[in-house]
């Protein structure tokens, strides 16, 4: 016998929580299911929660007082790109890019932030017979005939609902089991790897020249990432720094690199050493896949009464170094809730999917994800790209005042960033050329930061191991099918036997030597990478099990 709730939201990230809050405050009985031990336990972000000046449906729509109440870190006011070529660095202020249609830009740490958000949602939902249940993992939609009528979980009896909102993030179990999409190719994803480092508040404010609640953002691109398409970031928090790298997954696999090593390279760079005054005190390592919304976003993120929001629906926008996932998720969550509320009012529940679709299309979420297709297509043409590349990267051009101004304007343009193709030139060629042509040589008298080897990073994480149940199973252990995971899994390394993936050489009984890819799921941070780069059956662990972040 299935229990019935009016609405079930799966996933207590920003997208799900926004949807749940909007539903609850409009009187809906809403149940939120979260697999972590608490909202935020599983979640990582780089850092910046944007407010969109072109939409009313931001966090302040739900909580007008959030800037006073929420555990926010700093409002990021300046945004600087550091173009790196070897030991030469040219910094460029690109705050204009960051300010584009931005009403606020708070750096956040997801554990405290999601906890706060969750608490507010729970209080509201309780009033109408709902609330948040943690330690519950949704497995799949509950189907009656061919229709989705609720959810099936590992921990609870099946639950029926008039609407199921799938907000279970990039590795969404529901979107896949509902048949809305598969994992897709590597090209559809970024991989983000991050550390949070402690820094005493006064030192931080002095080093980064920030004060009060304000903070700064620093971006890093050029030749220090072995040609991978992507870059590094550093956002100031209150008394920590969020430092990370985000690369197109296909470029990591193509270059067969270990993502955490590039992050280390950034942290050890003399420029970084000078920026932080040689102070580096790593608190937490984390990683996660990020959908590339341009390719990954679902055109029709719904089926029957299941609506997908946030990363689960691929609603993630990357514009140059700007990453907007949380705000898109929040907006989409609110819109999904409103679609349900309207359909309910009109007594046309079966309409809620298309209604949600049209709300999305009419909002900035739709235009960010699906707009400017023609321009994008045009910008992707090889020939003009090559020509532009040849012209722009000429040192003479870069050194000229005119050239510098052009480049600065180019990389500060949100419009350009939105249509720019994902090619080497944009991510590597241009910044390297700029760094090389006009960068200052940096040296540091301070010793480079001591980064942690991967084994220590794993040892410092908190796990509640799902003993006896492997949430990921390698289907094909051959090196050809799954070998890439040894490199690309953020908690694996060919140098270590303690990570998730490793190669085992062993002789079998007949004396034949074989090389196989083996997996230990215990150190897994559930990023999702090996679902795509290796032949696996990939699932999230059961409720409450697996990695648990302290900062996020």
């Amino acid at each position: 016998m299935a229990e019935k709730f009016e609405a079930v939201v799966v996933g207590a990230g920003p997208a799900g929580l926004a949807a749940a809050y909007e539903l609850a405050r409009n009187g809906t009985q809403v149940l939120v299911l979260e697999r972590g031990k608490f909202p935020g336990a599983k979640n990582v972000t780089g850092g910046i929660l944007y407010g969109q000046s072109n939409s009313p449906f931001n966090l302040d729509y739900l909580f007008p007082d959030f800037e006073k109440k929420a555990p926010l870190e700093r409002d990021i006011k300046s945004y600087v790109m550091h173009n790196i070529a070897g030991d030469k660095v040219k910094s460029m202020d690109i705050t204009r890019l960051h300010d584009h249609k931005t009403s606020y830009a708070w750096s956040v740490l997801r554990v405290p932030f999601d906890k706060w958000f969750g608490e507010r949602v729970h209080r509201e939902a309780e009033k109408h017979g709902g609330g948040i249940l943690t330690n519950v993992r949704a497995k799949a939609p509950l189907e009656d005939g061919n229709r989705i009528v609720g959810v099936v979980t590992d921990e609870l009896d099946p639950i029926k609902a008039d609407v199921v909102i799938a907000a279970d993030g990039a590795t969404s179990d529901l979107v896949r089991t509902a048949g809305l999409r598969g994992w897709g190719p590597e090209e559809h994803w970024f991989q983000g790897v991050k550390v949070v480092a402690r820094m005493p508040r006064t030192l931080l404010e002095q080093r980064f020249n920030v004060s009060g609640r304000e903070g700064s953002g620093h971006l890093f691109a050029g030749d220090l990432f072995g040609g991978c398409r992507g870059g590094g970031f550093l956002y100031t928090n209150k008394d920590t720094l969020s430092v990370g790298t985000v690369f197109h997954l296909d470029s990591i696999t193509a270059k067969k690199t270990e993502p955490h090593k590039y992050l280390d390279r950034l942290i050890k760079h003399p420029f970084f050493t000078n920026l932080t005054g040689g102070h580096y005190d790593e608190a937490e390592y984390s990683a996660k896949l990020i959908p590339d919304g341009k390719k990954n976003a679902l055109r029709f993120p719904y089926r029957d009464n299941l609506l997908a929001v946030g990363d689960a629906a691929g609603q993630m926008k990357a514009a140059g170094p700007i990453i907007k996932g949380m705000n898109l998720g929040i907006t989409a969550g609110i819109l999904a809730a409103q679609a349900f509320l309207t359909a309910k009012r009109q007594r046309r529940l079966h309409h809620m999917g298309p209604l949600y679709g049209s709300y999305l299309a009419n909002s900035y979420v739709g235009s960010e994800l699906f707009g400017k297709r023609l321009l994008r297509w045009l910008a992707g043409w090889r020939l003009p790209n090559k020509m532009l590349e040849g012209f722009v990267t000429r040192p003479r051009f870069i050194r000229s005042k005119f050239g510098q101004k052009r480049i600065q304007r180019m990389v500060s343009s949100y419009r350009l960033a939105s249509i720019a193709p994902d090619n080497d030139f944009v991510y590597v060629g241009l910044p390297t050329a700029v760094g090389r042509a006009i960068g200052d040589r940096v040296e540091s008298e301070l010793p480079a930061a001591k980064t942690r080897p991967i084994d220590d990073r794993i040892a410092a994480l908190t796990y509640d191991t799902d003993i006896g149940r492997e949430h990921i199973v390698v289907r094909d252990a051959s090196v050809a099918a799954s070998g890439l995971a040894v490199m690309t899994c953020p908690v694996s390394s060919p140098d270590s036997s303690r990570g998730c993936y490793r190669l085992e050489k062993a002789r079998d009984a007949s004396g034949r030597e074989s090389r196989r890819v083996v997996l230990d799921t215990q150190p897994c941070v559930e990023c999702g990478t090996c679902a795509i780069v290796a032949a696996t059956d990939w699932n999230t662990p059961r409720g409450g099990k697996g990695v648990q972040y302290q900062l996020g």
Partner: protein, 281 residues
Amino acid sequence: MHSMNTVVLVKGVPDFREGKVSFKEDNTLNRGATPTVLNPNDRLALAAALELKVKHGGSVRLVSMGPPNYKTILREAMEVCGDEAYLLSDRMMGGADTLATAETIAAGIRKIGLPDLVIAGFKSADGETGQTGPQTAWVLDFPIITHVVSLEVDEKARLVRARRTAGDDIEEIEAPLPCFIVTDPGFTAVFRSATNRLRLLRLGEETVARASKIDSVFKMWGVADLGVDPKKIGLKGSPTIVNKVEPIPVAAKERTAQVVDAKDAGQLDEVARRIVQLVRG
């Protein structure tokens, strides 16, 4: 309809966690300098009571025998589950062994009024006898199920159904209410319904709030209140005495490896002899 009445027995114990526990020079426990906390196993008894309260409603009363400062223990327990708290406290109850403790607790439970269920933890962290539960059940003449890992109540049939560990076996047990339960350290409450989980959260918050204002639901009873035979309680009612306490010598473990070269047969022989000695000794 009759609603479930449950009594949970809770005890205070020294906090043995590193950083909290304090030792005297001769390595015996320094009770004075070690804080007292709720016996960890009693949390499972409380979890069982909470599970039943979520599923069947009713009330949960906490009973402890100990010095007046055990009020903090009852409060700690109430933060997990509890509607009322009863502290049985009297100089004359001091020095009780398990039999005298069982007599005292049974008298307290009788004064409250016999409940449907009494739930005790397995061993306490200090006395560690595991005798108090079974002996209290005996004094009350309640049927008893020990080592319970999961629990269900059939209100209509007035039956308890429990799973208990029995060596390498797991047993399914049935007993009539009223009944005495001793939870196993492996006890787990099972909630398969979302509604019950929400209720669990709410009751959890309510009980924490109640614990912060424990005075209004707290009673302390002495020997006179219980009307218990003074000969059956305290030192007088205790057959056993603790005659001597000695430290058990523990080797402080800072290991420095003796390095042995495998190629040296003589050294290997020496290691082998050492192993054999250890195994035999």
